[in-house]
Amino acid sequence: MTPDGAKLAGRLVALAIGGVVVQTTAVSQLPIAGANADLAPLLVMAVGLLCGSLAGGSFGFGVGLFLDVVTMQTLGVSSLVLLAVGYGAGRLREARDPEGSLVPLAAGAIATLTFSIGFALMQFLLGIDAPLSWALLRQILTTLVINALIALPVYALVRRSLLAALPDDPRRRRRRAYTTGGLSPLSRS
């Protein structure tokens, strides 16, 4: 592994541990309109958008596994669903490279929805005896709205914490070159 890769991996591990600890010790205990924010899908979405599908998927798997261990839940459930969230966010970046400032908001909402539905499906497949009630749907929708609202700051925070360790992306470098005037190939000709 290159020094840059090791640096990025270190920051991702710290981000995963810090995120899960903050989620379980503070965010889960802050009810907003009967529900609470869920940082896990937002963190995984942000890493997927910033680092790509491979890092996003691996980060999702790690965060999910750590979350399952810490909360004494069935091992493998969160990791499987968050793996899909991270991979999906990474593929979005690799295939479309969206640049809009509201992309993290939309991606955060989709990530949360995917995580909620995926987690619910897994629970039903595992045989949890819980009817699909309005209260449950309301909680999922409230979490979705809260997560969409905090997706942008969470994305900015993750980006800030990873930026120094991210490999220099050719597309980003190219965009930067065009927007800094003097470095554009047109101005050189």
């Binding site: 889960s28 802050l30 491979l54 691996s58 909360t71 493998g76 499987l80």
Partner: protein, 289 residues
């Protein structure tokens, strides 16, 4: 080069999916004392101090959010509380009279008096973490096996019963709340002491519980109080985990009354979403009795 990257990406993704499925299958299939459960417990044991420290450090943030929430909800509660105060004043007058009579009768009959939970050696614990998903209604507390906490012990807060201990570590324990889908408590309700089982309506609804198996002629009413039954079996092999008479909640409505599909809904006294300190009853009924 591109093909190699894609192949690598797909290989890692496939490997992680397989890992997840293996973990899931193995964990779901093994007993509570299996290897994966052991690893989970061991990791939790190591992380407990970190979580406890983080919980203390982040308490001011939680309190700040709580203050905003309390201020907003307090305005809406004023009218309800005023009506309840008037009702309680009238009830207090009746209760004082009843207490006086009860004391005399108790002395007369030399009964042991009402059950006091002090006999169950309650241990006060701080809530350190809560489950982030709506599917698991669990919390983690900062008292564990070194404090005498054992699996199955009832947990109360200042209002009522909230659940029972389901996993114990050296300095921490996991509490499964009444609102968890796996929870079930034998109870009695109303003036006629109707027996039933208190179970959650479903996942993600902390303000609504069901009183099941009450029988067709239960004749319960909204406002009736529900407390733990505290059963003992004939052989004493399967006594209830909970002491008798611990408050659980109040009946709010009865759907399809008098039919086979009757559903008795109750609101728990304890606010499961706002737990800060709880008490674990660390002595069993036999010892306490």
């Amino acid at each position: 080069m591109y093909d190699k990257t894609v192949r690598r990406r797909r290989a890692v993704l496939g490997l992680l999916v397989v890992c997840s499925l293996i973990l899931l299958t193995a964990y779901f299939g093994e007993s509570g004392g299996g290897a994966l459960h052991g690893v989970q417990r061991g990791t939790s044991e190591v992380l407990n101090p970190v979580q406890e420290g983080a919980s203390r450090a982040l308490k001011p943030v939680r309190d700040l959010f709580g203050w905003f929430g309390d201020t907003l909800s307090a305005k809406g509660k004023v009218e309800d509380l005023t009506a309840e105060r008037d009702r309680l004043r009238a009830e207090l007058a009746r209760q004082e009279n009843a207490t006086y009579q009860n004391a005399r009768l108790a002395k007369l009959l030399e009964t042991q008096g009402a059950l006091e939970l002090g006999a169950y050696a309650p241990k006060t614990a701080r809530v350190t973490t809560a489950s982030p998903t709506v599917w698991y209604a669990t919390i983690r507390i900062d008292k564990g096996s070194s404090d005498g906490v054992r699996v199955g012990q009832p947990v109360i807060n200042e209002e009522a019963l909230i659940g029972r201990v389901t996993a114990v570590f050296r300095g921490a324990a996991q509490v499964t709340l009444l609102t968890d889908t796996k929870s079930s408590v034998s109870s009695r309700a109303g003036a006629r002491n109707v027996f039933g089982m208190v179970e959650p309506v479903g996942a993600g609804n902390p303000n609504d519980l069901l009183l099941k198996f009450t029988g067709p002629n239960a004749r319960l009413n909204p406002g009736d109080r529900v407390v733990t039954r505290g059963t003992v079996s004939d052989t004493d092999r399967y006594p209830s985990l909970y002491p008798p008479g611990v408050p659980i909640g109040v009946i709010t409505r009865i759907d399809n009354e008098g039919t086979d599909t009757e559903e008795v809904h109750l609101r728990p006294y304890a606010n499961m979403r706002n737990l800060d300190f709880v008490r674990v009853l660390t002595r069993t009924r036999e010892v306490a009795g």
